[in-house]
Amino acid sequence: MKKSLALAILIFLFTIQFLNSYGIQRFPKPEFESGYVQPETLLPNPRAEVLAFMDIGVLIISLSVVSWLVIKKRSRNGVFWMSLFALAYFGFYREGCICAIGSIQNVTLALFDKSYAIPLSALVFFAAPLAYTAFFGRTFCAGVCPFGAIQDLVSFRPQKLGTRLNAVLGVIPYIYLGLAILYAATGTDFVICRYDPFVGIWRFNASFGMFIFGGLLLAVGIFIARPYCRFLCPYGVLLNWTSRFSRKHITITPAECIQCRLCENSCPYDAIDIPTNTRNPESKQTMGRKLIFITFLIPMLMLAGGWTGSQLHEPLAGVNAKVKLAKQILNPVTDKNQAETFEIEAFKSQGKQQAQVFAEASEVLHQFYIGGWILGGFIGLVFGGLIAGRIITRYQADYVPNKGNCFSCSRCVDYCPIKLPLETK
């Protein structure tokens, strides 16, 4: 009885006190007489920093080995085993972070936000695969990226999609990349990490939605090989464009193509360009007309896209925490269950001025307005490029891997009947 009365009084007193203080030493530290030793607060250390250098080392060595296997050895087997290693190391051992795809956002954030110090590992994971691609093609995709590796494992029955569908779906990564950069540059969110389909598999632990997304991609991947790489991966856009100008690249045949067509269906990713049968399918006149059409079309599309993007800046910015808070201050939720949202509660407890929140929010909105123009213009350009690619016919003599889309997986190599005696000089 006495105890509960005391408790009631205590509670009353402390409730009053709590309203204007936190973390105050209300009760002095006791002086123990029984020789009691106060235990240490255990603080486990994070992963040792030197191990980040190990990751970087493994990345560089893997890239070198796979490039050598692809360009010099032309060995599908070797590439396969390297991709299994990547799956084990970067996937299951490192549990997916840091990865080259996500590092786009770290680099973007570091470029736009000077107070963000980018870790060296993130910078190397961004730059090294691109540098290797500039010399050897997308060898990173072939045997270093764990995303590619896991999708490669499940592609049992790859179907041909046809060039048109491939081209149209191929636009999605550009949009994804644009959005990811916009959200990273404004410090809003890392969308690539948020919608990472496989990270839950690496950790054997994920939210329900993540599992569904990852499982769905793998299921689709049985019939459409590497769906994430081809139709989602934002880093793939950068790799694609770098690879187009690569110094060396995998070739299907080690010598001259004899047009035997044996490799025609060997690529699970529809990445082999098939020869066009006529040498000059179009007159100069039609060519010229098409070119004029495109030169007018692309700026129009960019303008239209930019305008649309700028109009959409408010919904786009809606997920930004600062904008969200400002909105909630303006329109407090009137939910019976909850007096105020946690955001408002936190805002009140931090003693910030309303005006400051509004100023920050309008600053973010302005960034999104400009970002909306750029993003929209970029998407317009991509669609223009898509149309241009569809209507311009290009001359092509042999069966060759499309340098942009080819993942350098080396499958097609085994289909070519021409074999050179192993010449490793």
């Binding site: 105890k3 509960s4 408790l7 205590l10 509670i11 402390f14 409730t15 936190y22 973390g23 209300r26 009760f27 530290k29 006791p30 123990f32 029984s34 009691y36 235990p39 607060t41 603080l43 250390n45 992963r47 920093e49 972070c97 990865c99 996500g102 590092s103 956002q105 680099v107 470029l111 000077k114 107070s115 963000y116 110090a117 980018i118 870790p119 060296l120 993130a122 910078l123 730059a127 691109l130 500039a134 969110d189 890392f190 990490c193 948020r194 990270v199 839950g200 950790r203 632990n205 994920a206 187009r244 100008f245 110094r247 925490a321 949202t341 946690f342 509660e345 936190a346 407890s349 931090q350």
Partner: protein
């Protein structure tokens, strides 16, 4: 024809590589420059840089996620939003701050009618806090870490009625250091930040001790 194409290729490749090198170089350079704080001196010459919590203080060191207990409002989202189940955020008991109270605001529900340590009187939904008698009138509270789900109920209780010695922290034996912490983007109080991996905790009332130890 062939030559022209090769030249174009070379040109484009050169442009891409230059761009890449410029970006990387800029970030490296900037990081070397921006290493200073309000004190105005460069971190490279600062004697405190080993203890400093600003990420820019440590050039190119790896960072980890941590939450600032002074900002936290104990909303409970830490328990739900972490990519790990149960959450990598758990309560950490700073014994140095604890009053060893009999009526622990973090241990017992505030409206407890009769004082007993029965589970229904405990705040913690998983009974993760263990109470042990030390000497009259002091009790020691320890956390059974595997049981804690990071719901912050005890933190709220201890902060309201006690010394605030129970604090949420990202426990780095469980955290997988996501590139972007899944809780950080949902924390209403903006309590999460990247901190240098060499100084991975942001506890109240324990800093002094750490500094003594060097």
């Amino acid at each position: 024809m062939q030559n022209r194409r090769e030249f174009l290729n070379l040109l484009c490749r050169g442009t891409i590589l230059t761009g890449l090198a410029a970006t990387t170089g800029l970030l490296v350079y900037r990081s070397a420059q921006s290493g200073n704080c309000q004190l105005g001196s460069s971190c490279a010459n600062c004697g405190k840089s080993g203890k400093c919590n600003l990420p820019q203080a440590l050039l190119y060191k790896e960072t980890v996620w941590q939450l600032d207990p002074t900002k936290c409002i104990q909303c409970g989202r830490c328990a739900e939003n972490c990519v790990m189940t149960p959450s990598a955020v758990k309560v950490t008991h700073v014994y140095a701050m604890c009053g060893y109270c009999d009526l622990c605001g973090g241990y017992l529900k505030p409206d407890t009618k009769n004082i007993s340590t029965a589970a229904e009187n405990q705040l913690c939904p998983t009974s993760a806090i263990k109470r042990k008698f030390v000497e009259e009138p002091f009790y020691q509270y320890t956390i059974d870490e595997p049981l804690c789900i990071g719901c912050a109920k005890c933190v709220k209780g201890c902060g309201a009625f006690g010394n605030g010695s129970l604090q949420l922290q990202v426990r780095h034996d469980r955290c997988v250091n996501c590139n972007e912490c899944a809780i950080a983007r949902n924390c209403p109080a903006d309590a999460f930040k990247r901190v240098p991996a060499s100084k991975p905790y942001l506890l109240q009332g324990i800093e002094a001790k750490n500094e003594e130890k060097g």
